[in-house]
Subunit: 344 residues, 2 copies
Amino acid sequence: MPQSDTVNRRIVLASRPHGAPTPRDFRLDQTPVPTPGDGQVLLRTLYLSLDPYMRGLMDEIGPSYAPSVKLGEPMAGGTVSRVVASKHPRFRESELVLGAAGWQDYALSDGEGLTALGDMAQPSLAVGGLGMPAFTAYVGLLDIGQPKPGETVVVAAATGAVGAVVGQIAKLKGARVIGIAGGADKCRYAVEELGFDVCLDRNDAQLAQRLAEVCPNGIDVYFENVGGVVFDAVLPLLNNYARVPVCGVIAHYNDEAPLPGPDRLPQAMSTLLQKRIRMEGFIILDHYADRFDAFRRDMSEWLAAGKVKLREDVVDGLEHAPAAFIGLLEGRNFGKLVVRVADA
Amino acid sequence: MPQSDTVNRRIVLASRPHGAPTPRDFRLDQTPVPTPGDGQVLLRTLYLSLDPYMRGLMDEIGPSYAPSVKLGEPMAGGTVSRVVASKHPRFRESELVLGAAGWQDYALSDGEGLTALGDMAQPSLAVGGLGMPAFTAYVGLLDIGQPKPGETVVVAAATGAVGAVVGQIAKLKGARVIGIAGGADKCRYAVEELGFDVCLDRNDAQLAQRLAEVCPNGIDVYFENVGGVVFDAVLPLLNNYARVPVCGVIAHYNDEAPLPGPDRLPQAMSTLLQKRIRMEGFIILDHYADRFDAFRRDMSEWLAAGKVKLREDVVDGLEHAPAAFIGLLEGRNFGKLVVRVADA
């Protein structure tokens, strides 16, 4: 089902999920392609980024940093688009832009938050290795995690859009890197392709014990992007003065009510205190102004030199976005998940 | 039961507590007063500081930052002592020193960790307003909490040795200060004597609602020294970029096993993330080298100018230390708890 010149396919929020989203929470509808007014551009989506934070936008009370999606409105999301028509002085027809057109073929924009991309051999990188997920890894690891040579860094979702970059940058900074990923294939990839020192299977019933075995000197930085059982395995191994950047807790995005006990908070707080641990949440939107240039410069260099590798999990066709997104929350993607909505 | 010249009364750890300590976990015994060898001093205890962290020292596996007390050995603790006899070049007979002689009348020291106090009108201040508890407040609030003028600071145990100083320094820095304390007398004292803007009773069944009412602009700094229900009331009110120095979780020191659910950790982590909160444990022992001089200078000034007030809860007699300590863990003290072991 390719893009049409006249019809705008949209994936709209059909109902608010209870727990994990199901296909019925999404609906594909069609509207006419809109016409740009003065000061507007019409965008045609090439790539749509799918990211875990979108789960929060589906709830009635969304996260504090972004408005929740209204019922019947298109799902929100970062996109690489081509300018189809422009009545905006800063953008010209046919150029590539990074924006937030959402889960649809076409969108209007007044230029706010829109960035011209110039020529890119691999435009999807703008929502991956040179975009938000890798930038999240960069800021969280370097500014909050601050790994020193010889320290041990642990990151989960190790082959995901954020985790893979965290681990590779940590290696570049001289740290020992332990990944945690779902399944043998991903673990092999993390070690053989990404250069992690070790990667453990998160489904291993003995995860806590295995992690202790491969961290004989404890853990200095834990990049938290999953929560759940991984945090439990990490907590007792954290060293004095460990840093825990908190970037996501994907394991809990589908929680509907407080989980049953035991209550793990007192132990976490006591550990924080006794080991003088710093735990800090961050939202990458806060850091574009002060850190994005440094990120783009460093990351472009590392990619060009082959020091950081990226794997994309490309899904073809806007209509497959809901299933792909549901799979992302279950860890079924292998690499940065993007939907190729159109070729060019 | 006054001090004797020949008998050393000691409060030793008789058994390791299960949950809250009881009087039977302590035993008063008597040994001969020891004789100092070359390079040693004999100390006679004047004031013994009682502090919540001591609960951790009673467990077989103590906190990471201090060794646990052995069964049959005197309880550990900070003291103001008089040098009775000295074979140490740095200390002379009859001078006042700050040290860690523990819960006993006499102790030997090789001078390590011993500080000459000079003449002090109120020597007990060395373990209170000019010592560890106030220094804890100073470093935790200023270095980690970093309150800005107009921000809202919340501190529990508001009339305690740490909390009272946290609140008063926060006021000096221009913050709005909400205390939480046990009972109407303490609350009145926090507002009328210490100058807190508001103080709420921690036993109020509507604590969470009351706190929300008195924090219309949310909470920017929560100085965590209690844990438990106070943390639950604070968490939903924390603002973006709030700071949470974690200095103690007294509510949990007696926990024997993980508490029943619900599990509060996922919600805490999600809040940390969404609001970009920094939560950081600290142990004051780490900061003596770099921050103690600044603390002593500032605090001496504030005390002299009457800008910071201190209330001591003085218990007379070493033999009453166990009951006083048990009361401290229950919040029965009113001000910095010290045992006057001898007058001079």
